[in-house]
Point group: C2
Chain length 298, copies 2
Amino acid sequence: MTQVERPAVIGRLVVCGVGLIGGSFALALRRAGLVGEVIGIGRSEASLQRAQALGVIDGYTMAWAEALKGADFVLLAMPVGQADAVAARMAPHLEAHTLVTDAGSTKRDMIEAFYAHLGDHLDRVVPAHPIAGAERSGADAAFAELFDDRKVVLTPLAENTPAAIERVAAVWAACGAQIRRMSPQEHDRVFAAVSHLPHLLAFGLVHDLAGRANSEELFSYAASGFRDFTRIAGSHPEMWRDICLANRHALLAELDQYLGELAYLRALLIGNDGPALEALFAEAREARNRWADKAFPS
Amino acid sequence: MTQVERPAVIGRLVVCGVGLIGGSFALALRRAGLVGEVIGIGRSEASLQRAQALGVIDGYTMAWAEALKGADFVLLAMPVGQADAVAARMAPHLEAHTLVTDAGSTKRDMIEAFYAHLGDHLDRVVPAHPIAGAERSGADAAFAELFDDRKVVLTPLAENTPAAIERVAAVWAACGAQIRRMSPQEHDRVFAAVSHLPHLLAFGLVHDLAGRANSEELFSYAASGFRDFTRIAGSHPEMWRDICLANRHALLAELDQYLGELAYLRALLIGNDGPALEALFAEAREARNRWADKAFPS
């Protein structure tokens, strides 16, 4: 993909959902000197006031008609469960020149909402997924460096113009990100495996232990391995509800494959099969460390 | 438990298995000025040579007869699968005054080995489990601060004298640790839940993904959440083989309970049950963050 070296300044940026992702996007574009005015929109006026007080946005509105007037670029960064309602409300007010991207962790459902409501604008609606996050959420957690050297996966629509794709890619790149491209289907399968399933597993383990009569004792002996394993169980419940449901077919396929892996491990334990268990652990360690050394060089 | 403020110096310390745990124990007691001579013993002469070159031990031997001559204190820090063989080899040479403790992550099997071979010495063999570790292993990974503010669980035997328990507790406390006491059965159930199961789950997930035709692509999109979730899959395969097998009854019980949790999550996904999914995630997040804020105050 050709990337514009320095994209044109976005006169008016609209961010829907000024949380960790939306807020960080605004701050990253400010850092790059690539944005004039940032307008927030969302469900909670208190959150938008807070974002404005923090200087993450310049102003806000609760009305799409007002938000989209003269808007050059829209980032949709609300929980993906709101995609359909948001697209429906945007549709009557979206101007001909406005570019739209999103930050949804699942893509097919987001795209369904675009097809359902933004049919006249699909040339300029370029879906994206920034592979970045943190445990904390909300505008207070936003920071300009969130996307630095992180991947952003674009899943362009057949209707997108090359110019729109390039412009959206350039804006994400200006946030510090590395741009990748995939089909929405491939995207959702890949992230079911490496992101959505691990979140489900971590939430499940903590929920299981927290419901025990001796949960206090159990947690008191949990150590740093448990802390790291369960870090993603500190993620935002509504966001993850939406992701899991939006991508539940791919997620169920991954979960079932993993249940097969656990059935195998269970058989090895019952069979007291040391060599097979050690070989499996060694393969996992080798693969994990090879990946981590490359992905997170120290 | 009464703790001696400053324990007497250990003239001759024997460490069996001079890896991360054994080596750090020696370094911690050196730091405390509580050890004269440290003698290593183990399966691999090359590892012992390396530990000596690093200054972790003063010398080593491959023979228990030599190691135990005049030994005041023995730490057993080899993988727990070797417990029976090691106890058998120690038995003929253990002197009347020598105290023994261990660092095994499972306790019942270690204790079985003590009962099988060290019947004449049980008054001075005090089992222990330091809740400390790191991904890296070997003497090169050892450091004196490993046990600082970490829990060490003693699972004393009925045969232990109060003086032996106090002395062993004081030595671990001198390594920087906080001392706790449990029965071996309770210990093994608690750690199956908060440590052994998470390790099994992490090894299993990485093994599952690493065996896919598209594993390279999958890993290329794994991010920091995946890194943290799978950190414990970088643990030592032989050590974890031994732990999983030694504690497989408690571990299978935990795995089966967790499979029940996953069956519930699977039903929520199939039923598209957003409220129940969000409630479960919220409960997990609340429990996880409450624990982490207390256990790891920033």
